[in-house]
């Protein structure tokens, strides 16, 4: 398909000059109708040079070529009648090709931002005075080449390396047995309590891993928490219902829960029919989960992952059904709804911290500590940015601008 597309482009480039000359023929009588005496019959001098090269200044994708030329002797001096330049581009030598742009007089540089990376182009330029064009100057071939590093993202790379270094350092420190303090997260402590209550009441636990796809990092975080929750329910022999809105998430959840039950030594208690795919459609899913809440009456509802407008529909129904509810999401716009209707809510990064907090595994805690220190660095950089802007040190601020 791509090749056909290229052939079409070449054909177009070949047809374009012919079409251009037809247009010129049609235009001739109109010039004759005007007063011939006033016509400027002397064409202006052509541009005195034309150079083309790959555009390098801003780490492009190879889709830009830079064109520079010397002004025509009649632009700003001489007959002083140049009104502008016409720049054209072709795929073959000697062809005029398609007109790229009409550029006003006095300008000597143009960046062609519409090139295909790696394709060689020939450029030509004429000056004109409104009635007749000058002779053509030619240049090329040149191809746009992508740079090997996106320099406009250099600041991101630096900060990322700093961040990764911190995470690596704290992971190593934690691995050696150093005690790392993590503040109490009530929402996570409440999970065990909620499962305990469901066990006492002899009712199931409902775990909703959000409606995000598996490539959503909130879903991954949720599956990690699910693994811990499944271990608790396996120990207590409490049914665990996991409704999902995505088939891949369902299949991952099956694996996670099955493994957790095996690890705890209660594989027989695992019921594959409790990991259910409901619907990809957001509100069909919400309706189905609400149905489970009202029919199967879980005593604990855990909502962890990416949620959108269905958050309050789920949490209010759960409240009405009288369940203990713990939610966790990094979707800022849904947090107010969960805070209102649930007993505990994990906000933003608490969701990502959950697996480290619950497992207390040193390697995971190291990552948590690393993010905390990166937060300190970010706060310092924000303060520095405010000061830099206040004292007019724009280059500091500009360094952080990315593309």
């Amino acid at each position: 398909m791509r090749r056909v597309f290229h052939i079409l482009l070449v054909l177009l480039a070949l047809i374009a000059p012919a079409a251009g000359s037809l247009e010129a023929l049609e235009a001739t009588p109109i010039i004759e109708e005007t007063e011939p005496v006033l016509l400027d019959v002397v064409p202006p001098g052509p541009p005195c040079s034309l150079t083309v090269r790959d555009y390098l200044e801003n780490s492009d994708f190879g889709d830009k070529i830079e064109i520079e030329w010397g002004l025509s002797p009649d632009d700003g001096s001489g007959a002083c009648d140049v009104t502008g330049y016409i720049l054209s581009r072709a795929l073959a030598e000697g062809e005029v090709g398609e007109v790229l742009d009409e550029i006003s007089s006095g300008v000597t540089r143009y960046i062609d931002e519409s090139v295909e990376p790696g394709v060689e182009y020939y450029y030509n330029l004429v000056s004109h005075d409104g009635t007749s064009p000058s002779g053509r100057v030619w240049a090329g071939p040149t191809a746009g080449r992508a740079n090997l590093f996106q320099w406009s993202r250099f600041s991101v790379l630096v900060l990322m390396v700093v961040f990764f270094a911190m995470v690596a350092r704290f992971t190593a420190v934690a691995g050696k047995g150093a005690k790392l303090f993590v503040r109490r997260i009530p929402g996570l402590n409440a999970i065990e309590e909620a499962v305990g209550r469901a066990t006492e009441m002899g009712r199931p636990v409902l775990y909703v891993p959000g409606i995000g796809e598996i490539d959503n990092i909130m879903t991954i975080a949720s599956l990690n928490i699910l693994s811990h929750v499944a271990k608790i329910t396996a120990r207590y022999d409490t049914p665990l219902i996991v409704p999902t809105a995505r088939a891949v998430v369902m299949s991952a959840a099956e694996e996670v829960v099955k493994q957790a039950y095996t690890e705890v030594g209660n594989p027989d208690a695992y019921n594959p029919d409790n990991i259910r795919y409901l619907s990809d459609a957001q509100f069909a899913f919400a309706g189905a989960v609400n149905g489970i809440m009202l029919r199967e009456k879980p005593a604990a509802n855990l909502y962890m992952g990416a949620f959108w407008a269905e958050s309050l529909l789920l949490a209010e129904t759960g409240f009405e059904a009288g369940a203990i509810q713990v939610a966790g999401t990094a979707m800022v716009s849904q947090l107010p709804f969960f805070v209102t209707a649930c007993d505990f809510t994990l906000m933003g990064e608490e969701l990502y911290a959950a697996s480290a907090y619950l497992s207390r595994e040193p390697k995971l805690l190291g990552g948590l500590k690393g993010s905390d220190w990166m937060k300190v660095v970010s706060i310092a950089l924000i303060a520095a940015g405010i000061i830099a802007r206040a004292v007019g040190l724009e280059s500091f601020v500009a360094w952080f601008q990315t593309q």
Partner: protein
């Protein structure tokens, strides 16, 4: 071994996507785009797993006559009806039966579910906004200002007052400063959480999402 291969794939693809972010060369970007296409295809194909699960769970429910098995019949028959009309006669073409069902059944059903939010918000607000403490009081007052300031009624109630005392102005101020600041704070924390989590996943430190640690 069962864990090594998935972890190795995760590491290689994760690293490649990082490289793609920093290297604009079209060889890298086209390879990355190709991989993303694969992702889309895998996810699309996985719908079969979902359908399989749906049929299994509901078939069992019906055959054992478990509580609520009537709903399972409805679910499975609707699926069969949609597959029947969607297959041979096309799905989204104007005038097809599938399209007709979509517009006349699914559209009103989904709109109804979404509009239930208005009712739920009202009952949640009635219950949650209580003047229990100073903080709760501030939340309550700002909620009232924003709720009224967002609709023409707020503008109508405070017309004639100096601009800084009108509800729309107060609403904009609350949304643009305290709200936006808190919003960005949570967002930045979450972004760092995502990065740390991503790193842990790429390096294979976090692996319970693969189904346990072993």
């Amino acid at each position: 071994m069962r864990r090594v291969i998935p972890l190795a794939i995760t590491f290689l693809i994760g690293m490649f996507m990082l490289v793609d972010f920093f290297v604009p060369h079209h060889v890298v970007s086209s390879a990355a785009a190709e991989m993303k296409q694969w992702g889309t295809i895998v996810i699309a194909a996985s719908i079969l797993l979902g359908v399989g699960n749906l049929i299994r769970v509901h078939y069992k429910k019906i055959s054992r006559k478990q509580e609520g098995w009537g709903y399972s019949i409805v679910t499975l028959s609707v699926m069969v009806v949609m597959l029947f009309f969607g297959g041979p006669w096309g799905t989204i073409q104007e005038g097809s039966v599938f399209n007709w069902i979509f517009l006349n059944v699914q559209v009103p059903l989904q709109s109804t579910m979404f509009s239930l939010l208005a009712f739920f918000i009202a009952s949640a607000a009635y219950r949650a906004f209580r003047l229990r403490s100073l903080e709760a009081g501030m939340l309550l007052v700002s909620a009232i200002i924003v709720m009224l300031g967002r609709v023409p009624l707020g503008q109508f109630l405070t017309r004639g007052l100096p601009e800084q005392a009108t509800l729309p102005w107060l609403t904009e101020t609350i949304m643009a400063y305290p709200n936006m600041a808190a919003f960005r704070g949570i967002l930045m924390g979450a972004a760092l959480g995502v990065m740390a989590m991503g790193l842990r996943v790429i390096l294979g430190i976090e692996r319970s999402y693969l189904g346990g640690d072993k």
